[in-house]
Amino acid sequence: MDLWLRAVIVLVCLCGTMGLVVNYDTNATAHDRSPSPSEVEADYGAHVGQEVLFWGQVQSVSTDTARAEIDVVTANGTLELTVTGFRATVQPGGNVQVYGTLQPAQTIAADDVVVVNPAGSSRLYKYGVSLVGALLVLVQFFRHWRIDRDRLAFEGRTDG
């Protein structure tokens, strides 16, 4: 009885999660204030002059001319863009957010550039630290909880 109820709850919650994940993807772009990379890729000319917020991987930077080449991931591959007004310290391989106006010839005139990962290695740092976090949660959780094999449920190691 208990196991059935739990199975139903899990099923309902998983369906709910699935519903959100599908609904989010279906509707998110319609609610975005700026066009998505895939929309821009599909019809570049139609979006010239619009404000965009893109995440991209830096291919090259020129501090003299304040320009950078970035790759933005789209549904079909990557969109290669030139960013002008690029004032940020970042190495090729790093990741940036660019907020600016779409110009002709695959160019964004940046209003603001935020460095998300200063270099490719920053991603490794984030994943490494997150792995430590995951281990910490598991250790801390099972210090206080155990799996009751008869009932297939978490039970406190101490009463209460």
């Binding site: 959100l20 993807d25 957010q97 200063p118 995951a134 949660v137």
Partner: protein
């Protein structure tokens, strides 16, 4: 996404400090809250199976980002809650959701080039709340700060608070 370690430690600090004033929070429930703090980080599953791959397999639109929202936390916390013995359900769900909520708020303070964070209040609203642009995830100073604070709280909890507790029960 602030890193998972930061998320988990922030909830550890908050719940441990709260436990100094109330018996309703103890290390056991702090651990559940910490697990809740990890829920929004499940979006990192996209590193193992990118969204467009899942889309092709399922034939449905699919965006992991929905997991790192209020709705995602509410449903995933439900799944985890069902894994607990029945008498724990109510408290487990509350602690899981609170932990997840803290992580969402923490992520909502990150820097965005247009000064608006993600739609993390989804499905209540698609609105992207403004962010004070406090940090980016790769900024290790945030992690260091949180680790130091957590260590101090752990030491205080283990020494001072334990002594006070044993004195009051004596």
């Amino acid at each position: 996404m602030a890193d998972l370690l930061t998320h988990v430690l922030i909830v550890y600090v908050l719940l441990t400090v709260v436990s100094w004033w109330t018996d309703r929070v103890d290390p056991r429930w702090t651990a559940v809250g910490m697990a809740g703090a990890a829920i929004p980080d499940l979006v990192k599953a996209r590193l193992l199976a990118p969204g467009y791959v899942v889309e092709r397999i399922l034939g449905l639109p699919f965006d992991y980002s929905a997991i790192s929202t209020l709705g995602g936390v509410a449903f995933v916390a439900g799944v985890i809650t069902a894994a607990f013995g029945r008498r724990y359900w109510k408290r487990a769900y509350i602690f899981l959701v609170c932990g997840g909520f803290c992580s969402l708020v923490g992520d909502g303070l990150r820097t965005f080039a247009d000064s608006h964070s993600t739609s993390w209040l989804y499905p209540l609203t698609w609105w992207r709340p403004p962010t004070p642009n406090l940090y980016v995830t790769a900024d290790y100073r945030v992690t260091v700060l949180v680790v130091v604070v957590a260590a101090v709280v752990a030491v205080v909890d283990a020494s001072v608070i334990d002594r006070l507790r044993s004195e009051t029960t004596d």
